[in-house]
Symmetry: D2
Subunit: 351 residues, 4 copies
């Protein structure tokens, strides 16, 4: 109950710090006889590589996936799958000076308050590097969903104030920002470059689309599908809001607008975002998350040290201007994990 596990039947436990020996994940409850290769996981890992879409050369963080258990002759055995990625090229010395300083917008202060100790090197456990384990587990979840013809896709619909005007899913795969609108993607790249030069960072919005989800997933009244999805997505470091379907837009709707009429071919619109009463209804599931700007800015910031004395802080080193697009595969992973978990739960009670 340390808080590092997620899911019930398909259950993942991530472990590891940014500058420790390694990071990884144990997946317990993966169905047996699923074909699985290192490459299946590696290809998802590439999508979350630091520096992606930042207009700069990507970092030399190779992040080679090691599957240590649960696999036999290319198939899962139903036993726990441990996946490990070594932390290479780790330079902790630049962090020495931040040892006693609480960086604004980071978890430094709260980890110290909670645990009375913290691994300050690279953010320790609170680093985005922890998502390596999520993405690895998500890659396995996506393999399972594939068999059921369920697709999960995350794409950038807003970044640095630029909003997409359309969703072209093929375009999404053509640019580094996972942006489904070519013109918006170009404008976003420009915003990123501007912010980078100023030493500042940007926020945005990611949308996640699930196609092919059958009706019946979700367990009211607390493990509603949207509730578990909200938890999974809100557990990602930079996420500050989650909405489904019409989302916060429902506040200004009338009931007569918001209800989706049902016809012989199914729902005639989808303001519900594919979930009614906590259970998938067979329509596309549509979620959006608000992503805050990366807190590691190069501008001078006021803060305090461990003795609560005022300090002026300037963070050095290379940091991404935005958590987008790196966060997109993490969102896909969390959604895929929730869906697999509920698929298995639904199989259990379907007698």
């Amino acid at each position: 109950m340390g808080g590092n596990s997620f899911g019930t039947l398909f259950r993942i436990t991530t472990w590891g710090e940014s500058h420790g020996e390694a990071v990884g994940v144990v997946i317990d409850g993966c169905p047996a006889r699923l074909e699985l290769s290192v490459e299946d996981i590696q290809k998802e890992m590439e999508k979350r590589r630091p520096g992606r879409g930042m207009g700069t050369s990507p970092r030399k963080e190779r992040d080679r996936v090691n599957i240590l258990s649960g696999l036999f002759e290319g198939r899962t055995t139903g036993t726990p799958i441990c996946i490990l990625v070594w932390n290479e090229d780790v330079h902790s010395s630049p962090y020495d000076e931040m040892k006693n300083v609480y960086r604004p917008g980071q978890a430094d202060y709260t980890y110290q308050a909670k645990y009375g100790i913290r691994d300050f090197r690279g953010g320790g456990r609170a680093s985005a590097r922890e998502t390596v384990g999520r993405v690895a587990a998500g890659a396995i979840a996506k393999k399972i969903l594939e068999r059921e013809k369920i697709e999960v896709m995350a794409y950038t619909i807003e970044l640095g104030g630029i909003r997409t005007e359309k969703v072209d899913l093929e375009e999404r795969e053509r640019n580094l920002l996972f942006c489904p609108d070519k013109r918006a993607a170009i404008a976003m790249e420009k915003k990123i470059e501007e912010a980078r030069l100023r030493g500042d960072t940007l926020g945005g919005i990611v949308e996640i689309l699930v196609r092919g989800c059958p009706p019946g997933l979700g367990d009211p009244v607390f493990d509603k599908l949207e509730a578990d999805l909200a938890k999974g997505l809100m557990s990602i470091g930079a996420v500050r809001g989650v909405e489904i379907g019409a989302g916060f837009g429902v506040a200004r709707m009338f009931g007569s607008q918001c209800n989706d009429p049902l016809g012989q071919e199914g729902f005639q619109k989808n303001d519900a975002g594919g979930i009614l009463g906590g259970i998938s209804n067979g329509a596309d599931i549509l979620l959006r998350v608000a992503v805050k700007p990366v807190p590691s800015i190069h501008l001078e910031q006021r803060t305090v040290n461990h003795s609560m004395e005022p300090v002026l802080l300037r963070i050095e080193g290379r940091h991404d201007v935005s958590a987008i697009p790196r966060i997109n595969p993490v969102c896909e992973a969390m959604v895929a994990i929730v869906l697999v978990d509920h698929l298995l739960r639904q199989k259990a009670i379907g007698m």
Copy 2:
């Protein structure tokens, strides 16, 4: 794992259908020797009474709380507390005609798809009546928080397109809409009356404020405080979005704006909403939820019956124009339950 339990150490399990014998909740993990009376729970129950704030006479749903276990001589004993409220004045016959029809915006279709059976009377398990159990458990959670000087308050900041311009917490207790802005409250009441006459319904936004929360609550990386809060709130029927602190506003912020500087007196602003890295930081916790319009409208709607044949549906009977303000105590309950759960979890590891 049917999905009807919530929390880990302070764990609630709700049960009951709208038109069954009774609804209720079992609370397991409540600390011993807490003073508790029926009245403590009853007073929270009054806040969720149907018809409240709807400009009409409140319904005669008495909802008397019965505490069946876990209490001895006015104090909790550490054993499970079962709370029961009988379903009185239940008239199921009006629902007979809806037996074979899927009401738009309701869980009729999805419950049938999932379980192959549904108690159609009054929405069955998917009815808002299920929240009786949540509010009863939340009343106990609030008693525990009181001892720790932690306060949870939900108030209406938007309804039918009317947005509050200020937050006056005393005003919030003076009107039936839990609205912290007197002028806005009056405008909202007018909107409600207009919608009611048209047979339509309204959505809105509720904000939840937590004061006095100590730093250290929340268990990264999955049971982050905001992740558990998001799950708890998103599990409430009408909620379609959850945000914390600056919420979706972060999408258009720069990192230099979004980061909250730390000074000797603590955080100098609170765009983080009181949580950093998944752990409370000692500042106020601030959450907002989007509430969809009540789906039971009196206007004619297109839908289908169980044979998937088109049907024109007109829902009769008395229904609230908005889930607000009834949903406010439910939001408070869920937030209080999450906080108590994490308080206990933090006590466990604080060595």
Copy 3:
């Protein structure tokens, strides 16, 4: 996590004290569309009636089952089932004198030590009356097992030093002690009468047989079938030991004796008791539990009061001479619940 829930997918939560308002159970995760009546549960409840097999007139504890939720038109709906039994004929005044005394062999001292408060009336939560909820939930579990042609039977193989010499399952239903050996049953009854006259109580051994269990149930390495069975059985008040198959007898076996050879028709003997490596192997599952004598004896006992001063205690009132046979249906219930839970778990991963 108060400890009052059991099972993962088929999950029960019992509540209630011996002399409180009522006792009961919530079952969450029961598959939908199972035919279920009050009578299905009531008939199991009769088997655990106090006084059964004690050679005296049975107590007037009617224990009428009330199903408050989760049932619609005679079938389960997949939503939580709350079952309640009122505590009638409760006379708490005889317990007043025991208010400040710790009865030997009872939970008085430990509840006080743990919670700092205890409902001393009739043993409160630690009373055997708590098993009402277990037996009610077990009755539902047995209905599910029936569909799968799985049978669970508990019978008395030792009582007051009398050991059965054979297992005649039909005889088991003919006597009040659930004893599968007529001669032994008569001798046991005599022992009970002797002990009753002396004011003393008796222990014994119950065997539980499962027939028709398919191979594949159990989730190594911690949720092995025998591990979950051991927990379920050891959680019953009077149980002090659990063994499977050859049980403690394995200590004196050679490997060449203990291994069960496999032939074309399956296992050629069954010292494993139907479970290998934590997973059912298709053979009968065979368990035995040691049942301690009822601690409420009428003989004088040395103990202390709340001030830790020595006290001579003589317990009055009517108490059973042995927890057997009342404990037999409780053992059946716990085994049935574990089996259903693992049946559902196995369905979940069988893709």
Copy 4:
């Protein structure tokens, strides 16, 4: 819910197969700021080394412990601790011939039946090698118990029919069998040698003693301390029975014998084994487990292959004659883990 996690607040997840890349464990919920070194864990690991006490040279299985996360400057950080031991000297070819044969007394048949696939090399996940993770986690649990002055000791009280006549805890550390009776130890060694020469194996009984446990641990009614202990111990491969205090002996006791009188200095005898009503009472906790003979015997055995055709099987290779004494540290580990879990749970509700 794959079954590979144990504990609630102090939660371990083991992973790895006998002949896979590595075996290990993730511990989530370990309190922060605990001093911990590789050596603390390594020394426990030595006690479970294959070949120990078998009168032969110990195998060259070095089993070096690697701590990959959760540790910073020699202290735990409150984040998950991943411990890994590489599988070295793995020779899988001898297992090729057993690829299609179900070894009697092993999990071969049931893993195949459950998962439809199995890693047959060295028993795969069902191998005793899995206990590496348990012992590593147990070492950390023991460090926590040490701070609380709680000691857990497992010792051999019966092996190959030889029963100890006394319990001399110092002697226990002097011989390789963890036997607390010198004369019995010598006789056991002789029995082991005899069985080894015959190609057969031996069973026995291990007793586990807990000293210094405070009153109050355990969460009735399902998570009773003895119930969780029974589950933990019964989840160890070779264990076929668990008893507490007087154990199966209670069957032949009268209540007047079995009850432990309470005096001013505490309990005057300890047939309860330190637990009453599921809660520790402050006396020593005393448990015993029945350990079956190692199923890998060198004598010819009748069995079947995957096509269910009869096969005569003779297992080659070096195998221990008894799971004792290797199982002793595993028993200690499981008991220590349960105690720490309940210590943390008790801290949570102790308000």
